[in-house]
Point group: C2
Chain length 123, copies 2
DNA sequence: GACGTATATGTAGGTGCGTCGATGGCGTTG
DNA sequence: CAACGCCATCGACGCACCTACATATACGTC
C-alpha cells in the first residue's frame, strides 16, 4: 500500500504506447487513477495546491468541502498512500502538500511518447 | 450522458493550476477518471490502441481479458459514453477505436500549463 | 423464412467505497 | 494538571460498481 506511483514510474510503463499492458500493470495504474477519480479528492488536491504556501491542514479543508473531519482525513490518507500527497506534522497540525511531480507522472503515463500506428484505415 | 470529456475541454478547466475547482467541475473530471480507473478498461484501451488498424471488435477482446462478452460490452459502453472510445458498426461487428486526443486531453487537464506558487516553504 | 453469429440490454448477487458519528491519542494553553 | 483543539482510527450504514447468467435485438446466410 505504499506509493504505488513510484513503482510504476520506474519501469516507465506506457499503457497507451506500445503493446498491450499486462494485467498486473493495469491494476497498479488503475489503483492510482482510482485515488484521483473522486470529486472530494480532486478538490482537496486543488485546495492544497492553491493554498498560500502550497500546504494546508485538515482544519482548513473541512469547511470548503462541506465534509466532516473524519471524511476529509480519510481522503487525505488515500491520496498520501497513493504518493500524491506528503504529510508533515508540526505540533498539533498536520500539513499536507502535493508531491512535486506526482500528478505529472500520471499525465506522462497517459500521454505516450509518440503516437504509433492507430491511423484507423478502416472502411 | 454523452461525452463528458468534451464538456470539460471546452472551458479548459485546470484542476491543478489556478484557484480551487468548483464542485461541479470536480464531479465531471472525476467521472471521466473513474472510467479510466479500472484494470479491465485500461487493458481494453491498450488492446484497441495496439490493434492492427487501431480498432477491434468485441469478439477479439473477450479472450485476452478473460471476461465474458456482456462484461466486455459493458466496459466498452462506459468508455464510449465517457468520450474515450468511438463505436462504428459494420455489418454484424462493432468496431471500437480510440478517440484521437481524448486521453491526451485528460493528461493536459492534469498537467497545468505552468507550475504556480506551491514551492513548499514549509518547515 | 429459419438458423447461427455478434452484440447489446436486463436482472441479480457480491463486493467495494464514501460518508458519518463516536472514540482515543497527543500537543497546547490556561 | 486540567481543559481544549487537532487529528487519526473504528464501526456502521447506504450506495455504486463489477461481474455473470439469461434474454433480446440485429445482421448475414442457407
Amino acid at each position: 500500500m505504499g506509493t504505488a506511483l513510484a513503482e510504476m514510474t520506474m519501469p516507465q510503463i506506457s499503457p497507451l504506447a506500445g503493446e498491450p499492458i499486462e494485467k498486473h500493470d493495469a491494476e497498479r495504474l488503475a489503483g492510482v487513477l482510482k485515488a484521483l477519480a473522486d470529486p472530494a479528492r480532486l478538490r482537496l488536491l486543488s485546495l492544497i495546491q492553491s493554498a498560500p504556501d502550497g500546504e494546508a491542514c485538515v482544519c482548513d479543508l473541512t469547511a470548503p468541502l462541506g465534509l466532516s473531519q473524519p471524511t476529509v482525513s480519510h481522503h487525505l490518507r488515500i491520496l498520501t498512500e497513493s504518493g500524491l500527497l506528503e504529510r508533515e506534522k508540526r505540533g498539533v497540525w498536520a500539513y499536507y502538500s502535493l508531491v512535486p511531480s506526482a500528478i505529472g507522472a500520471i499525465a506522462d503515463l497517459l500521454t505516450p511518447p509518440r503516437k504509433r500506428g492507430a491511423k484507423r484505415a478502416a472502411r
